[in-house]
């Protein structure tokens, strides 16, 4: 059964390499996008931490900034 699945009447190498390339591309794109996201999120947290209390209060008044911080702490 497994041999049949891998051999695929002689087309196994073509079929599995096409599927393999697709899944590899998916993994690469997902990882690159995730790394970029985490990098920007960390940059945001670091910048936020360096603000003085008045500026931090003003920045926190924006809902989106609060969401970003909440997400960063959840991750």
């Amino acid at each position: 059964m497994i041999n049949e699945l891998l051999f695929m009447n002689g087309y196994g190498a073509y079929v599995l390499s096409a599927f393999g390339f697709t899944l590899l591309s998916f993994s690469a794109l997902y990882l690159i996008t995730k790394v970029q996201f985490i990098k920007e999120q960390n940059k945001f947290v670091a910048k936020f931490g360096s603000l003085n209390s008045e500026k931090a209060k003003s920045a926190k008044s924006q809902k989106i900034n609060k969401e970003i911080l909440a997400n960063a702490t959840n991750n």
Partner: protein, 235 residues
Amino acid sequence: MFKLFHPNKIFQITSKAPKYVLILFVMVLSVGLTEALILSPEDYKQSDAVRIMYVHVPAAWISLGIFSSITFLSISGFIFKNKNFFLIAKSLAPSGFVFNIIALVTGAIWGKPTWGTWWAWDARITSMLILALFYAMYLISWRIYESEEKVFKITTFITILGIINVPIIKYSVDWWNTLHQPASINILSKSSIHSSMLFPLLIMTAAFALFSLLIFLMKYNTELIKIKNKGLDRL
């Protein structure tokens, strides 16, 4: 109406959605792979080589769909002076480009056992390669131009030029003699593909669409945080 497209409102949804989309994608992909590699029948002419269709065709469809969406969003962004449309278009482009590359590479792999060659300058393949070049130009433009005004203009121009190629890709098999067969799936008339092959094809298309949605959400969130980072610098 455009208030609905305000980044602050969208972020509330896009920040939470990726994990659910990822779970759904893995589930649909698992079903799709089982159908495509094990349960679907082999073709009477192409034998098991036909299974490459289950990654090649959805990748091509989605890359064409994403490019059309990018063009529509860029033109809308330009007409309605809405930056968020450009941001959505920019976030869609990476997955569109990757799907285009997947379509080209898996097409080459499929070509070898069926046509006896990895590559031919056939109308469909050449026009898909041109689409990949338009995707590359679009993505590079976002990297090299600093000025927002300029990048909006240039990327819109690229998409308008590129969209001319989309109907050429679609109808290339009817307009020219190519190695590709005419379309087997028609929305308006009866499809010539058997349901035992159509079902896995649709499942794989759904999985690929979910993956592009996942990448879009992650990329869009990254872009929004980038903007907010610039905002913190200005405080």
